[in-house]
Symmetry: C2
Subunit: 348 residues, 2 copies
DNA sequence: TCGCAGCGCTAATGCGTATTAGCACCAATG
DNA sequence: CATTGGTGCTAATACGCATTAGCGCTGCGA
């Protein structure tokens, strides 16, 4: 073990200033309650010694004695910085860091959480949750049992992204995918599209479900409103599928999938949006090269991060009451991939 | 204040299992020293109660009582996640996170550090350094006085990037810029270049100094080896300057500057590398679009992050002795921007 | 002169854990 | 039967801080 460097404590300060440890603490915390009084000269003397020694209170002892730490935990269900999810987490973290800095909080990344059955776990034999005053949860899919446990323990947390109830309502800051998708569908309908398709990733996450809900909610006036699952890999068979059906507009959940679909179409000599309109339902989460400007919407990830911190700090210090569930609007993006269906062509 | 949810403590466990708190602690830590003995049935009983209650040791109390926390501090002199420095910090963090996960450490980002005179400060009236067992320092320029203070306090830390002494040697994991630049200069000399220029950013950071040193060390055989400072903005005047001088190859410290220089040259109808070779001395730190494949070298940022954690954990638990200073080699990148100087042209 | 009210401070305690000295007990030994 | 040695556990304390009850002092009014 490294030689434990003897640290300066309040007791040392007290001795040097000729006062008691309690007085040092009182001065340090600037306590000015009705029944706490420190003579100005005593205060100055203590402060001078503190300045001379460069004393800084031990945050650990502080936390043990009182209640709060000004530390916000960040739990990511996948590693936070991998190239793979890079463009997914990064904007959230950006917002989180910005707001944390503003309110003077440090961020604790729970990288030590062990992976069990392919997923990180919040709760394990040595979890460090309590080091933080509260915790922000990031990840497409969040284990419902763990949310339930957090609820039960009364541990302050906020999920980024809407979450279904888990043994009680879950506080979150999410994006309003449903409304955004609904708007896109309405746009397509106004342009004359009648045969729609939703191309999903087959995920069960709330973020997927919300998009689908928004799609179904607005698709009623259409002749046909299909749903199919597709991975970026099988763009050709999926394209066949869409075309055979006479689909004129596809709402594609995953950006990379949309790109794959567009290239597949182009390879066949089809025009986008002339022959097929392709809308994306969110920003890219992995870097994917394309020169198309897709029509779709933008997820306010950065703002979600900021507000997550805001909500969490509010919950921690009790300044916001009640359940906090916020859905932020997504900004529609007018790209070049939504056209008018060609009336001369019925490819069915 | 939020209602403090009554937590399960070792005392509760002890009561439920009919033993003392000390026994619970001993069982929990799996102590099996010569003079510590717990009957198997007692141990099982305690473990059973722990499992039933879902008890988890309070990391704060743990840290106060013993010495270590398995928390690694990360201090960035600029915000860690801004778009601006995004491509600069990200690879480091990736490596840091990866290794931290491997050794079961959490990461504490000191986002609360206040900005004074345009720079974040490690030491302030309420710094939380001691929450972590040690700390990784990230940033192009690191305040020497703060390093000195860290040394004096005996606080374990590692800088990412070579650092000059600061009241004692500074442990670091850096990149060997000097050697990399020397290699590039040698390459250029072999190709016949004789009039060289180093285009720096005028920074005083060690990383800049090392590159310049590597340049000067190898440039001796050249006819002329200039140095000039240039920002991405004034590419035109700088280009004039270089051309007036008959320079045939420029070693450009900053990637974005190199890109600007290349476009300026192209705008004048000059060919790169036909009329001017341009080498870059490191990867882009901000996203900058270019279709040129620059010759230069790659900084092993990710590996630097990994090794920084490795070194730090070693220093903390005392398993590595002595001063840790590592310089990792940079991989040369053969691009398209180093050519042979045209012997027919002497633009001087 | 005594009582009393403010003032300025301190002693004592708790937060939840790790650590250590040492106690009570039993079996084996002389 | 006294002694030793080993076993299984506990009491006590420390870690550094925040908090609170309350102590001693001074000055003032009665």
């Amino acid at each position: 073990m490294a030689a434990p460097p003897k640290r300066v404590t309040q007791r040392d300060i007290a001795r040097l200033a000729g006062v008691s440890q309690a007085t040092v603490s009182l001065v340090l915390n600037n306590r000015a309650d009705a029944d706490i009084r420190i003579a100005p000269e005593t205060r100055d003397r203590v402060l001078r010694v503190i300045a001379e020694t460069g004393y800084v209170a031990d945050p650990v002892a502080r936390r043990l004695a009182s209640r709060f730490n000004r530390i916000i935990g960040v739990f990511t269900y996948e590693p936070a910085f991998p190239s793979g999810s890079r463009d997914f987490f990064h904007p959230f973290l950006l917002g989180i860091e910005e707001y944390a800095e503003r309110v003077g909080c440090d961020l604790l990344l729970f990288t030590s959480a062990p992976v069990v059955d392919g997923r990180r776990r919040i709760f394990h034999h040595d979890n460090r949750l309590r080091l933080a005053d509260g915790c922000i949860l990031l990840g497409r899919e969040i284990d419902s049992a763990e949310l339930q446990r957090l609820n039960r323990d009364g541990y302050p947390y906020v999920a980024v992204g809407r979450r279904d109830d888990a043994g009680g309502p879950v506080p979150y800051v999410g994006a309003d995918y449903a409304t955004a998708v609904t708007r896109l569908v309405e746009m397509a309908l106004r342009r004359g599209h009648r045969r729609l398709a939703y191309v999903g990733m087959g995920m069960t996450a709330e973020s997927s479900a919300d998009r689908r809900d928004g799609y179904l909610a607005a698709a009623a006036p259409a002749e046909s409103a299909r749903q199919l699952a597709m991975a970026a890999g099988d763009s050709d068979t999926s394209l066949d599928d869409l075309l055979a059906d006479g689909t004129t507009v596809a709402f594609v959940e995953d950006f990379a999938t949309a790109v794959a679909l567009e290239s597949a179409a182009r390879r066949r000599g089809l025009r986008v949006p002339g022959d097929l309109s392709i809308l994306t339902l969110g920003d890219p989460t992995v870097p994917v090269p394309t020169d198309m400007a897709f029509t779709g919407f933008r997820i306010p990830r950065e703002e979600m991060g900021r507000q997550a911190v805001e909500v969490l700090t509010g919950v921690i210090d009790g300044s916001v009451g009640g359940l906090q569930q916020r859905l932020l609007p997504c900004e529609l993006v007018e790209g070049d991939t939504l056209g008018t269906p060609d009336p001369a062509v019925d490819r069915r």
